[in-house]
Amino acid sequence: MSRLLIWTLLLLTLSAPATGAVLPSAEEIQRLGARMYREGILPDGQAMKAFVSNDVAVDGTAFTCVSCHLRSGLGSVEGEVVTPPTNGRILYQERKPYIKGKEFVPSVANYAKYLPVRPAYTDETLATLISAGVDPTGRSVLSVMPRYELEDRDMAILIAYLKTLSDRPSPGVGKQEIRFATVIVEGSDPVAVESMVTPLQFSVDRKNSLAKAAGVNERVARMGYNMLGDLHGYTFTLTRWILKGDPATWRAQLEEYDRKEPAFALLGGISPGTWEPVHRFCEERGIPDLFPVVDDPVLSDTDWYTHYLSRGVRQEGEAAARYLHGMVELIRDRAIVQVIRDGRRGRALADGFRTVWAETGHTPAVDIVLPAGEPLTAEALRQAVAGHKPAVLILWDDAGLINPLGELMADPSRPGMIVASATWLGSAATTVPEALRAPLFLTWPYRLPQDDKRYDIAARKVLAGKRPDKYDQVILRQSYITQDVLGRALMMMRGEFYRDFLLDTIGMMEDMYYPLYERVSFGPGQRYASKGCYIVQLGKGENPQFEKRSEWVIQ
C-alpha cells in the first residue's frame, strides 16, 4: 500500500467518523473493509445481515457490494441497468445529469443521464443509505439494493474503505500518458515474440497517431474527443520487460522494472515455460496482466489480476472427457486407458481429462505413464490393449504416436476409439494415414482453420502491410484479441483509469467473435476467455481438413 494512502487512512482514522466509533489501523481498514465489501463478512467473521424488499432477511454473503458496484467501486453497466459508483471520491461529490468536462462524449453522456441527481454524501447520509436504503434526497433505493444492519464500528470501517476505492490514479497513468509493458521471457522463439508484440505495438502506434493528429488538427481533435473523450489526447507507451535466468530470480527483476517504469497493465507477454512468477507478482501488486501467450496458465478460481485466453492444453483433456461422457452408454463398463507422455504438457492433458471424468461420475481411467524421451512403441500399445481391453485409448503424446498406432490398427482387439491432441501432433496431424482416420478423434481448441480464414482480413490489419507469413498465425491472432479487448475497455472506462476498473470493465464486455477462438467470453471474475474445444476427425484425401465431430465443447 502506498505511503500516501496510509497517511490518508490515518487521517481518516484520527478525524473520528460520524458514527463516533474508533477505527482500526489503515491496514486493518483495508483488510476488514475489503472483506465486508467483497465477501459480505463482518470483522467478527459473521455474515453481514442484509434485508431485501425492506424486511426480508438474507445472507449478506449472497448480496455483496462487489457484485453490483464491482471491485473498483466504480459501478457497473449491464444493458440499460446502471449501478452507480460507490467509491468515496464520487459519493462525496454532488451528482449532476452529466459528468463535468465530458458533456459531449456520447458514451459518457448516455451513462450520466441514467443516474438521478443527488447532493454530495456525508458520512451520516452514507450510513443512512447503507442501513436504511434512503439516499440524501429522501428517495428509497430498496427496490434495487439491500440494506445492511451494521454496528457503528463496522459501518465506520466500511465507509472508510469506500473512501479508499479508486481514489487516486493507478501507477502508469500520467496526465496525458498511459504506460504499458509486455513481459518477454528470455529463450522465447523470436518469431513468436514478434508475433505477440507486433499487434500490440500497432495498437499503441495507432493511438499515438490519433493523439498527435488531434494536437495539430482541430477537426481531428473534435472527432477524437467525441469518440474517446479525454482518452483521445493520451499517448501510450509499450516497454518490454525481459526476464532472464532462473524463474526464481524473476520476482526481483519484475520489481526492478516496476520500480523504474511502472506500467498500468501488462499486455500479452510470452514464456516458453512457466508463467507462475509473473502471475504471482501481478496478483500481489494488483497489476492487470492481459492474455499472456502461455501453454500452462495458472489455474485459480479466486486470483484476479491475470486474464488468460484459455485454460491452456488442459482444456483439451477436459473437452475429451465431456465428449466421451456424451456417449458413455456405449462404453458401458469397459475401460478407458490414458497413455501419458511424462512432462508438463502430458500431465496437464491427462489431469484435465481425469478431473472432468471424475466430476461426471465415472470410474477413473487407467493411466500409463511413458517416461520422457522413451519412444512409444507398437508393442507398448499392444500390451496396454491386451491388459485392459479398453473401449477408448487416449494417447497424450506427440507425433511419435502415429507409426505405432498405425501398427496397432492391424490388431483385431484394438479399441474402437482413439483420442489424441491435434495441437500436440502439430503438422504431422495432416499426415495421419487414411486407415487410422476413422477411429482417431482429435482435440482442437481453436476455430477450424478453414473457417478461421474468414478472419484473415481482421487479423492482418494489425500487420499494417507486413507479410503475414513471417508471423506465427496463432500468436498473431491471440495478440490481436489482446489489443482489441484493451482498446474497447479503455473506451468504456469514462476516463477512470484505475487498474481494478480495467478488469471490471472487461468483465462487463459482451461475448466477442474474434479470430482463432470460436467464442471469447468475459464476465465478472472470469479469467479464461475461451472456454471451448472441438473434437475433430481428419477428412479424406492427401491434404485432409479437420471435420467437426462435436460442437464447441464448453467447460
Partner: protein
C-alpha cells in the same frame, strides 16, 4: 508447442481445396441446423442414444452466422429452408445415420465495402 501449432495451422490454412480459398463469388455451403433425428439404418442402434449422439453430430455441422459476418467481408444468401440432409453418425460404437434439418446458405466473400485489399 507453439511452433507445432503454428506449423499445423499453416499447413491447414495453406491446404489446397479449402472452401475459403475459392475465388470470390464461388462461395461455400453453410448450414444452420434446426432439428435432427436418428435413423438406425438397420443397425439396431438404440434410438435414444442415437438421438442424443445425432444432436452432437448435427450441431457439429451447424454454422454460426455471426461467425461469418464478424470476420468481415462475407455475406450469406439463403438457398433452402428446412432441408433434410443425411450424414453418417461416424461413431465407433454405433452405426446408423443422422438426419439433420437445416437451412442452407451460400456463404461467400463480398466484394462490396472491401476495406482491405487482397494480400494486405
Amino acid at each position: 508447442m507453439k511452433a507445432a501449432v503454428l506449423i499445423l495451422a499453416a499447413a491447414l490454412l495453406g491446404s489446397p481445396g479449402l472452401a475459403a480459398d475459392k475465388p470470390a463469388g464461388e462461395g461455400e455451403i453453410a448450414y444452420i441446423v434446426n432439428g435432427y433425428r436418428y435413423d438406425p439404418a438397420g443397425s439396431g442402434g438404440d434410438p435414444d442414444t442415437g438421438h442424443s449422439l445425432c444432436g452432437t453430430r448435427c450441431n457439429a455441422i451447424s454454422a454460426d452466422s455471426v461467425d461469418y459476418m464478424m470476420g468481415g467481408g462475407w455475406e450469406m444468401r439463403k438457398l433452402a429452408a428446412d432441408r433434410e440432409i443425411v450424414i453418417p453418425l461416424d461413431n465407433p460404437f454405433m452405426k446408423g445415420n443422422c438426419i439433420c434439418t437445416v437451412d442452407e446458405f451460400l456463404a461467400r466473400r463480398s466484394t462490396r465495402n472491401q476495406t482491405v485489399r487482397e494480400g494486405q
